[in-house]
Amino acid sequence: EAGVAQSPRYKIIEKRQSVAFWCNPISGHATLYWYQQILGQGPKLLIQFQNNGVVDDSQLPKDRFSAERLKGVDSTLKIQPAKLEDSAVYLCASSLRGTYNEQFFGPGTRLTVL
């Protein structure tokens, strides 16, 4: 079974530029999550999708972050414009409803904002 795929793996941009990350979850997983993991901290949930609908985006900085999951499969997370404090690893995870919320994570995208 293929795991969660993310791209790119690394991205370096200057502040005020835009960036987009892509995630393809495990086939059949209806729930998709985007997390932000700052160095030395645990993952922080940004947004949760159930199929193509948003379940929770309360911690997403909506003035600069946006996410979509068209067709309920893969998803993109965008930052526009980026700030220095956005430097982090962005993790995508998916889960199959009906389990004890076992989440499967992708390898993450490491973003550096200069």
């Binding site: 901290q41 645990g42 993952p43 993790l91 919320n101 076992e102 989440q103 499967f104 390898p107 993450g108």
Partner: protein, 112 residues
């Protein structure tokens, strides 16, 4: 917001030693999970505990969920270099929310 505090933050031990890391909260969680994360990779689920007082064993790793479902511990017996990594606990605040609150993790280094 329900917070999970993990201790110690860093732990460096010799191969063959035993260790315990802790995950504590003032809030009740419907379930709690432990993940291990290696550099450059996403977290990988080790175990899920659901019932207060539950103990689960995974080879040399023993996980315990507190009776009140507010805390958990992970004990590793005879640590190996392959155990090196960041250990994260994560709790589901409400059953059926399909959301997790993560602690900051314990960074474990096992020295040969």
């Amino acid at each position: 917001t329900q917070l999970l505090e993990q201790s110690p933050q860093f732990l460096s031990i010799q191969e063959g030693e035993n260790l315990t890391v802790y995950c504590n909260s003032s809030s009740v969680f419907s379930s709690l999970q432990w993940y291990r994360q290696e550099p450059g990779e996403g977290p990988v689920l080790l175990v899920t505990v659901v019932t207060g007082g539950e103990v689960k064993k995974l080879k040399r790793l023993t996980f315990q969920f507190g009776d009140a479902r507010k805390d958990s511990s992970l004990h590793i017996t005879a640590a190996q270099t392959g155990d090196t990594g960041l250990y994260l606990c994560a709790g589901e605040p409400r059953a059926g929310s399909y959301q997790l609150t993560f602690g900051k993790g314990t960074k474990l280094s096992v020295i040969p």
